[in-house]
Amino acid sequence: MAELTDIKNELIRAEIDEYVGRPDERERLIAMFASAGPQMQAISAALIDGDHATVDGLTREALAAGTTALEVMDDGLIAGMALVGIKFRDGVIFVPEVLACARAMKAGMAHIEPILSASGAKPLGKVVMGTVKGDLHDIGKNLCIMMLRGSGFDVIDLGVDTSPDTFIEAVEEHAPDLLGMSALLTTTMPNIGRTIEAFLEAGLRDPDKIMVGGAPVTQAFADDMGADGYGKDAMACVALAKSLIAEGTGARV
């Protein structure tokens, strides 16, 4: 059985020692990290630290040195995220730190996805997402994006306060399968409808392309605005995106 001291990376050793109390999880993590090489451990450590620039550089180096894309993904990135999940569940870190780790994960996946894609493992679909005009509340959107990317979607994040014109330009540029919009405020919710209207006016509206969400948004409101799907949270967002893709209704702009 692997011991904590078998893990070469100091940060990972310290994190497991300090934050992983459950014996089964401790044993599983120790075995996982101990079997990974120093370079994979370094990627995990940078991800746990939310250091996207270091994850970017180390992933690039590992791939250039001949490590396979799947090995970097499994033994570097996902292994690190497993420890992040435990720290989050146990209240050591909170949503902002999780999102920083997700950003670091994305920095690594940016090098891995083209390799997977070139070898036939295509993304489940492409999604453009943003909060609507006037809305700066982005936690829900960011969690949706994290979940979508973790499920194998390619997501273009337009950020916050996205005007209808910006949504339209992004759809024209990226030709996504799906468009996601979120609003947290009752005052900005109508901008979901205004954006959909702008797509109609631009002649770009595909019948089953737009999904919406946000704390005050309901299925009835989404229906009234002419959206094609509503997700109440990040998990529902992924299920909805998969369902729209599976129906083949989200295949065109």
Partner: protein, 98 residues
Amino acid sequence: MPASDGTGPDRSDPLAAGPTSVDPAAVQASFDRLSGIFSEMMLTVAEVSTRRCPYKDRTDHCTAKFGCRNQRRPTEPGELLVCGGDDKLDYRSAWEPG
């Protein structure tokens, strides 16, 4: 490293040598594993967000890009604003529109 005559593959570009074979089932298994980790995180998000503002980081600083009545001046210049919320009342009522 690239060959000295410049014709060899550029090892700094992982795609330069061409795609290697990747088992789609193994890729799917990896995404399933990642998705499972994230799904468990979402359960924690749902639970934690009932009692703690999701924009508040582990050091009680505010990461929001909008105004909130719970925001306090940082202790050091250049730091994020400090969250003054007590996590007892619904934090959402303190959020401001922009």
